[in-house]
Amino acid sequence: MELILEGFRMAWHLLVTLDKEVLSVTLLSLKVSGLATLISLLVGVVGGTGIALAEFPGKKLLVSVVNTSMGLPPVVVGLFVTIMLWRNGPFGSWEILYTPSAMVIAQTVIASPIVMGISIAAIQNLPPNLRLQILALGASRPQMVWLLVREARLPLLAGIMAGFGGVISEVGASIMVGGNIKGYTRVLTTATVMETGKGNFDTAIALGIILLVLCFVINYLLTMVQQRERPR
């Protein structure tokens, strides 16, 4: 019990004094996951809207594949990206394994299906006649797509936050493709794993608290968004 209390006391100290190590780890986490989410936003929203609005054979199969990919195990993604970036792998010449870039790639692979899956659902959940109403208002095709995306902005935002929540808290892929190198590829989750392993509970708890606060903020925003209603 005392161990835990002492851990919290120390953690609080690290947080309020803005410990350099903790700060750098947090900033890198936000940078890597933020960038991965931004790329996923482009891939996921554009792809998801396209899939939702287009009619083509095999659409249901594709949507099922996307939905399944929403729960890709990070270690599997880590393994796959590691193989791809390995010295003898297809993209070995890029020489980016064990760099933040490799982590961004792995996290993008994890987040894109989440954003895409939620985007498909968001566009498909709009009233079926809304597309026709927009066209009847005199919209060109591109204007129609833009207005639909704008109408689905809240669930799309939820998808983006879910994607960010998924990658900021994943550890498997980051440790595999980043390598948890101090001051270079060390992020909140990989540092927590390491500090816990070393018995440095104070630092681990401090990092854990930051991660929890980030996750809470994301979920709080998600809940706010989901409880808003659409007009009739």
């Binding site: 009233p127 006649n129 809304l130 026709l132 109403q133 066209l135 009847a136 208002l137 005199g138 919209a139 060109s140 204007q143 207005l147 704008r150 109408e151 902005r153 809240l154 808003r228 209603e229 659409r230 007009p231 009739r232």
Partner: protein, 364 residues
């Protein structure tokens, strides 16, 4: 009316959905400045016809013409769609303020901010929602939302407006008030309108012409009086229900009672109006009483007419008895009464109805 120019026409239209034919319309047109009611039960193809006319459905065969020119549905129809407007059963508003919703069609057309403001303000006023301009569309009542949807459609100054049962989800009082406002806007703007409804009173009230749809086809089309008085088939007859439609002129008014002249005969009806006004009278067959002796001095019915039976149609427990009293009338008579009165085609009868049992509509 027949001399008016056709604005929007359908020729040999066939629409299929999921391989099944849902619409087959050999000829249909909307003429300049007229209001046409499309009536028929739910699921009969009214919405499909509207979507097809709006250029929003792929046709299996046939064509849509606008000002005489065919609309090429496989190409870019934006220019055509910008000259018409459509209002759906659901208001389908954007998640934005009422003002922004009404302005949305103008924004899509790239109309200047100054003109947008003027048009939006005028439409908000016409549909009496100026006070709601800044409110979010998420916080509107059903009636307010549909008013916003109508204002949004009229703001684009469409040449043709297609209204797909816009009042169907509203409660009767809200519906009534909104219909009054729509009627006025249509009259003031002169917009050509096609309004789908399954309420024959709504159709009667708004329309110059009526088209009855059944199983994807137009089974009858004509003036409301023609459709209601001379149904083309049993389906139309059953559907329109209110079969006594008479046009007349108010002779004098006073004390809540109107004296009217219909086909050279005089009638007394409870209602308000001014002498000289043209009106349409409607009565349900159930309210027309048939006797074989003159009931003049023995009933409270003010309106008694002598005539003859022209046709008797048995409809289960009730018979529709068609009468000629100098104008056509239909009465609903039970089988028992029919036997007691010994009614047959050619029988001399007296038809009467109470001054309170007739509905009155002003005609333009």
């Amino acid at each position: 009316m027949t001399t008016r120019k056709a604005l929007l026409e359908a020729h040999n239209l066939v629409v299929k959905r999921g391989g099944t034919e849902v619409l087959r319309i050999p000829e249909f047109d909307l003429r300049e400045h007229e209001t046409v009611a499309l009536i028929g039960p739910n699921g009969t193809g009214k919405s499909s016809l509207m979507l097809a006319l709006a250029g929003l459905l792929q046709l299996a065969a046939g064509e849509i013409r606008y000002h005489g020119d065919p609309i090429i549905l496989s190409g870019d129809t934006t220019a055509f769609r910008r000259r018409i407007a459509m209002v759906f059963q659901e208001p389908l508003l954007f998640d934005a303020t009422v003002y922004d919703n009404v302005a949305s069609g103008l924004k899509l057309r790239g109309i200047s901010a100054i003109e947008t403001r003027a048009r939006v303000e005028s439409c908000l006023e016409r549909f009496r929602i100026t006070h709601l301009a800044g409110r979010s569309a998420r916080r509107l009542s059903g009636g307010e939302a549909q008013r916003t949807s109508l204002a949004r459609a009229f703001a684009t100054k469409p040449e043709v407006i297609l209204l797909d049962e816009p009042f169907v989800s509203l409660d009767p009082p809200t519906r009534q008030v909104l219909m009054d406002d729509l009627e006025q806007v249509l009259r003031e703007s002169g917009t050509t309108a096609l309004i789908a409804t399954h309420d024959q009173l709504e159709a009667l009230r708004l329309a110059d012409r009526m088209a009855v749809m059944h199983e994807g086809r137009i089974v009858q089309s004509g003036t409301p009086a023609a459709v209601m008085n001379e149904p083309a088939n049993a389906f139309v007859a059953t559907f329109v229900g209110m079969e006594n439609i008479l046009t007349g002129t108010i002779v004098s008014a006073g004390g809540g009672l109107l004296s009217l002249e219909v086909a050279g005969k005089s009638l007394e009806i409870v209602g308000s109006g001014a002498a000289g006004e043209r009106v349409v009278l409607c009565a349900h067959p159930e309210h027309v009483v048939v006797t074989t002796i003159d009931p003049d001095h023995r009933t409270s019915a003010r309106n008694v007419f002598s005539g003859t039976v022209t046709r008797i149609v048995p409809l289960g427990p009730v018979n529709k008895v068609y009468l000629d009293c100098g104008f056509p009338l239909v009465a609903a008579v039970t089988g028992q009464s029919l036997a007691e009165l010994q009614l047959a085609v050619g029988s001399r009868i007296f038809a009467s109805f109470k001054a309170t049992s007739v509905r009155l509509f002003r005609k333009g």
